[in-house]
Subunit: 408 residues, 2 copies
């Protein structure tokens, strides 16, 4: 354990937080070093955190990270330092289990889920593909556009997603005006996103400047905003996405903290227009986080996209500040999604609707099969690593299989 | 107490549920008879509900109705019967306080808030006023269109609402193309709605037929979906309303149960198109609930609208069934808003944007002042009574004052 292994997502430089259980360890907060899951409630009971000021007793006993995530960053930093110090020396084997023997859970109880649209490339690509118009919405450069998603159907990586039923235009109908029918969606897609987990809460009407918002962001996860494009297309006007998204959203189980991501800060895009002061951000406003999407069919993984968080126009700090600016609160455990992380080039596109030009140009997988949309049994695996391979700070994976529609 | 007084909202025929406290009674679940608030945790401890099967001990001790609302309707009906029987005989004065001495709270902890658009009249009126096109959205007759609101900013009646800051088009600019600026909203409005409170939960992927959905609806409240029309107009394309709504939503404190509303069931509108089977509703699908909006300025109340729940095209059962159809769950305490309850005629319009034709035709209040939008200090009071005055089954009021913008 003394020579850190940086060739993995969860090196000593990471120290992510999640919720885990195993045969011998009841559900509690945990961290991970390489393939070892370390149970934090037990570590705390054994006195490892005795020197940390501001850490409540039994804070890790809970089946969610919420209480811990809501603490001040100064407490998080002390805990991180203790864990790095401890794990550098020796693995506390009594409180540790191999990842293969562990069940992982949603890291937080999610009160609110707000999904943004932060990638200019995604907006332009999707607009071009769907309505032949790459012009971003009028507000795009002024504030991060968003809608509220359904928090209760956020699930942890590994949970299957069932193809939803819904209303959509029957594009197979011979009539010129396509009728609206109800049935299993025929246009299933994924969206590659990052989810920011709100840490310390912000009260309503308190307001927040983007520059100060890191204090309220506990960490990040990979987020797959599964989307039914036909249901979405039928319902979006004028109130936005609802059932086309609300059947399920997957997140990776380990929250990677901003402290772990600090070395991977990079300059963000320059604003196209003058911003309201609460949206003005720090110079190094972005993070170098490489992201990959694979579609796994019959055991074979096809890499369909390699993107990067740097492609986003808006930062998580700006997302949080925009929400708060209207007088809304931020609750610990809220998740703010970045929207699809797409870049400018083919191969950096974060969803099938972009890659296939709205279904007009199928992609070919390594097994030779073609896709314009996901098929039942397809597994979508998303991974993310900060700073490139070998950094030792990764997100692990966010994986989910699309299951056939059920009669409901 | 032996001769019931039907000239009030809270007669023996009502028996609503809320959460209350007073100097001598700590926060707990409560009911109300006329102006008497009866504390239910104390009533249960005294054995009043001993004969009710399926009622957990201490279920009313909680500061929300969630645990109680999540029980089977058969339990709710027994409790209702005991309360009607008890209160007909005598008021349990040790557990009772006059409403004037009582503080009321949000009746439920709200996990999810989904706001629908169920009034064809509202859709047509708003469309005509804003974009000169009364055509409803393409999906309107096929399913109840909705978006997710912000659950965490739902507040109980009486809570002031602060005029929000946000981004909007500066309509005072001389340029033809109006610039987007950031500042206090200049177009504040209310929306008269009913909120349905989800009772017994429904698991994800379980599905639900509208005909069976009453089992999952605990009761109803009045809901004021405060809206900033300029922020909304700037952000709605393409993802729907967000900050234009998320600064605050008011609900009345007493949940009126479907059992109390049963005598006021009336036939609903006939569907314009054949519905998917899960949306097919019972014949008496609507309720006769009269609703009134007053704007109070300098102590003078101007009645600006009198509408009725019967004007809605979609029922609460259909709203719940639509949500569930995609595989989403319903959580106890979720609130489903009907959208603005507007009728076909002037005088039945549930928001200012309709009444003033998007700000073009000011309304005149009793004090002689005019409004195209709400002014700071305006108090909006909404009331609702089932079956007309004298029925004894009312909702009380949902009231809120618009306060000046704060520097955030």
């Amino acid at each position: 354990m003394t020579s850190p292994n940086y060739n993995c997502h969860f090196s000593i430089a990471n120290i992510p937080f999640g919720v885990a259980s195993s045969k011998c360890h009841q559900i509690q907060c945990a961290t991970r070093l390489e393939n070892n899951v370390v149970f934090l409630a037990e570590l705390q009971r054994s006195g490892f955190f005795a020197g940390v000021s501001g850490l409540p007793n039994n804070v890790f006993e809970k089946p969610t990270l919420n209480e811990y995530a809501g603490l001040d960053k100064s407490v998080h930093r002390q805990v991180r330092a203790v864990l790095q110090e401890t794990l550098k020396k020796t693995l506390p084997t009594a409180f540790t289990e191999d990842i293969s023997a562990v069940t992982l859970y949603l890291p937080v109880s999610v009160g609110g889920f707000t999904d943004f649209s932060c990638s200019l490339h995604h907006v332009r690509n999707a607009g071009r593909a769907i309505i032949n118009d790459p012009t971003p919405p009028p507000g795009f450069f002024h504030f991060p556009i968003a809608y509220n998603g359904r928090a209760s159907t956020i699930v942890v990586s590994g949970t299957p997603i069932i193809r939803p039923h819904g209303h959509f235009y029957d594009l197979t109908a011979s009539s010129e005006k396509k009728p609206i029918i109800y049935g299993p969606s025929r246009a299933m897609d994924y969206e590659l996103e990052i989810g920011l987990i709100v840490g310390k809460k912000l009260d309503a009407t308190q307001g927040l400047n983007a520059k100060d918002a890191d204090e309220h962001i506990f960490g990040m996860v990979i987020l797959n905003d599964w989307s039914s494009r036909d249901i979405q297309a039928c319902e979006m006007k004028p109130l936005g996405p609802m059932n086309g998204k609300s059947f399920g959203t997957s997140i990776s189980p380990w929250a990677v903290t901003l402290d772990a991501l600090e070395p991977f800060k990079v300059p963000g895009p320059k604003p196209e227009v003058a911003l309201a002061s609460h949206l003005e951000d720090i110079p190094e406003s972005s993070y170098d986080i490489g992201m990959k999407v694979e579609i796994i069919t019959a055991g074979q993984a096809s890499t369909v996209s390699e993107s990067n968080n740097q492609h986003l126009y808006w930062s998580g700090r700006q997302m949080a500040a925009h929400l708060a600016s209207v007088g809304a609160d931020l609750q610990t455990g809220d998740i703010l999604g970045t929207g699809t992380v797409s870049g400018p080039d083919d191969g950096t596109l974060g969803c099938l609707v972009e890659m296939t030009k709205a279904g007009n140009e199928p992609i070919t997988l390594v097994d030779g099969s073609k896709r314009t949309q996901l098929q039942d049994g397809d597994v979508v695996r998303m991974t993310a690593v900060a700073g490139g391979a070998g950094s030792g700070v990764g997100f692990g994976e966010c994986v989910g299989e699309l299951k056939p529609a059920q009669r409901v």
